[in-house]
Amino acid sequence: MVFEVLAYDFMQRALLSGATIAVLCSVVGIFLVLRRFSLFGDALAHSSFGGVALGLLMGLYPLWMAYVISIISAVLITRIREKYDVSGDAAIAVLLSSGIAVGLVIIGLSGGFSVDIFSFLFGSILLVSVDDTILILAMTGAILLVILALFRQILYTTFDEKQAKVSGIRVERITYLLVFMAGLTVVTAIQLVGVLLISALFVIPNVTAMMLGRGFQGTVILSIGISVSTVISGIFLSYVLNIAPAGSIVVLAICVLGATMAAKSAGLLARR
């Protein structure tokens, strides 16, 4: 059965793209979760929905416009927090609703699009093309290389901005770089789980791994493991049960989190 499924090109692309996105979301997501920016991915995804609609209206490839709007939104949220002393969750809430609202207005004004807008809302990993797969691999490679090169600075800034600043780290630049990469990651991941479930990939594997891991690198590796395995299992499950992959992936991730919580409460898990 497994080999039969793997013989399909679309399935190979889905699994490769899905696993790659899972790695990317885990790595970028852990910094967002630790900065109490868990809903940041959601806000960017919602605002990029407006970008998708705008792209369709302008006759451009929707994801390119989504990238532009997502990055602008990421920088905007950070700027609003810094300049106007608005709390992070309030800034996120404003952009979260405005993205969807703008998208709906554009769709309404254009009289609807022939493209299936639901594929952006709920993902369409089984439909990724070869070009999409290459884009996902390239984007993931580039973002992970930047994180690897600036790992200490990003971690230090996440742990304690003030001390990082005293050590000569340009904290503001690192913060903007991180939100810029989050903006790119969100749009890259939209194809896997869609706008509505994106934050699940950022948050759930990392929260689970933080209950189990000890050191930072160990926690990241655990999170990647959980994320990749739930994405791959979720894609297989969706094929077998003929259901949406986004749903099965997120439900599986929640099951792993629930099982971890239960095992921890029962004292079955000691932290490694």
Binding site: Y156, F159, D160, K162, Q163, V166, S167, G215
Partner: protein, 255 residues
Amino acid sequence: MPRPIEVSNLSVGYAGVQALENVSFGVDQGEFLGIIGPNGAGKSTLFACMLGLNTQYTGTVRVFGQNIHRSKGPLKKIGYVPQMMHFERNFPVTVREVIQLGMWHGVQEERVDEVMRELWIHELADRRIGELSGGQQQRVFIAKAMVNDPKMLILDEPVTGVDQASMSLFYGILKDLNSNHGITIMWSSHDLDAIKMMSSHVACLNRTLYFHGAAKEFFADEKLAQIMCQCTDPSECMEHNPGIAEPPPIRNEAS
């Protein structure tokens, strides 16, 4: 060799409030300077200026002879320990990883183990920082500050929230760093007894500098010392304490 710290006519104001006014003093190599003053006296603002975190001031702050406004280079000679930090309890970093965060480029990995042994935290190396007690965490942050072999340590109310037993160990470590390793220390605390016990010099700050000199001289009049440290307006407090005849000794060794 230039003095570790040289502050001249430092004034800081924001949102219509004068946080520091015309503060001038210096710290010599090997000195153990305690900064005292009530809440809102400007102690943290003073540290922020010295560490290059606050650049909105008038006056001059020199660190190891260099104007900190122009060059952040001398900060490499300073280790900084902030007030008890409030980080995510589940933050997945071990003690070793926290100390590694503080390492400058070129510092050898063995130094991490060395500094952990010096501060009695080597057995905690693989524990998560959030699992430790307040006193243990503060020792980790001293270790992080010490990993680069700084010439000076700045500690901003380092024992806030630390239990009594850990405090004694903590003070012992500070004393050892100063006496046996020649590290210049500047620290702030509300604990007058600790300042008296530990510091060779005292600076009393309450927006402006009320006293800077030898600790012995400052604590010669205990009641005066208490008033200076606890009153929001020391001059007014003096008027309501007729037992003290003399006005506050506004003097400064640097001026």
